[in-house]
Amino acid sequence: MHRHFDDELNELKEKLLRMSSLVEDSISLAIKSLRDRSSELAEKVIHSDSAINILEIEIDELAVKLLALRQPEASDLRFIISATKINKDLERMGDHAVNIAELSLELLKEPPLKPLIDIPRMADLAQKMEKDSINAFVNKDSVLAKQVCEGDNAVDDLNDQIFRELLTYMMQDPKNIQRALNLIIIAKNLERVADLSTNISEDVIYINSGKVIKHHFEE
């Protein structure tokens, strides 16, 4: 039987998809602004954050409404609860994109410290995780979600490597410290995007199966 409630759940899903595509754009523009040394792109990321924030509130309100009015059970309940978490994770990713854009504006004030190699690689990985986690959500794909979680280690390793390399730059010459620090913080922001993608993937598995895999809980 078609339920009127299904239309409302779809509305929630569609809003989340719109949210994720806004966030995806923000992250890729932020990284492009860093790579291409473009202040214009960085500004664009900073300005577009308010649309993400507004949508976050809309999604929260819709979820609260559905919880209050529909008394959802089982998969419906898991979906709505997880939607609020995914919503928050996406909004946070948008904030990380803004952080990266702001840092990239800072870096533009001085010549490049070094050619960027590992940060773009890390950005590619983090972005792929973010896209895959959303695809896993849309397609209810637990296998893909699991892969996203497993990809997190590679990003963490890169983050450590970037940190060590930039540390040597700072030790070489104190004039490098500001720029190296900014790059380290950018890497940290990318690492957080990857972590949040992992969170979303964990929620996808919870929605699909009711299984809690975070913190290796049910292993």
Partner: protein, 255 residues
Amino acid sequence: MEILTKNMISVKDFNFWYGKFHALKNINVVVFEKKITAMIGPSGCGKSTLLRCFNRMNDLIDGTRSNGSIFIEDEDINSPNTDLTCLRKRVGMVFQRPNPFPLSVFENIAFGLRIHDLAKKNKISEIVEDSLKSVLLWDDLKDKLNQTALDLSLEQKQRLCIARTLVTKPDILLMDEPCSALDPIATERIEELMQELVKKYTIIIVTHNMQQAARVSDDTGFMLMGELVEFGATKDIFTKPKDKRTEDYITGRYG
């Protein structure tokens, strides 16, 4: 985006008494066209009385009186000129226990058409079919039209009673606890039916079941001891009620 809606029923400073008992106290409320409005509240709060004022069913009880006004669109339904038969045709009612006539399925629906002389004889079958379709009964009952309606399941009876109400082409459907005699599955199906019906009709439902009000309605009014304590969009009433008494009732802390 909210679509602007028309007022269907406007109640102004309305009071109602059963003898000396002041059952409705200074009610002011507007019911919107093609929306589902739910009235909730504990037993004896006046919600059914209010519902029955909308088609003047309370006239059947001795010793009642009222003041204030109830308008349906721009018609004052308590004016001496009101044609009660027309009013009750326009404002259909469905009760707690389905009450089909002891007639065949077909005649249950055709009855209203015949007594109000609403259709030519050769049109009656067509209208019966349409109204059974509109309550999603046609596929189940098309081969049983001549069987007695008393043998149907409770849910089917309730659907039949709704269909019977629809043939007189009402604008408003009053539903007084329409699901309280039904099991949860049948209840869910009647609720889905209401979502279809509201595309064409204005629905007012009185229910003890707060969750049902939450699920089905666009607007909700909370009544207590004859007063309309709070009225507003259902999503607001159930997530951020303004009045402490509403909060206490919907969170189960009342009493």
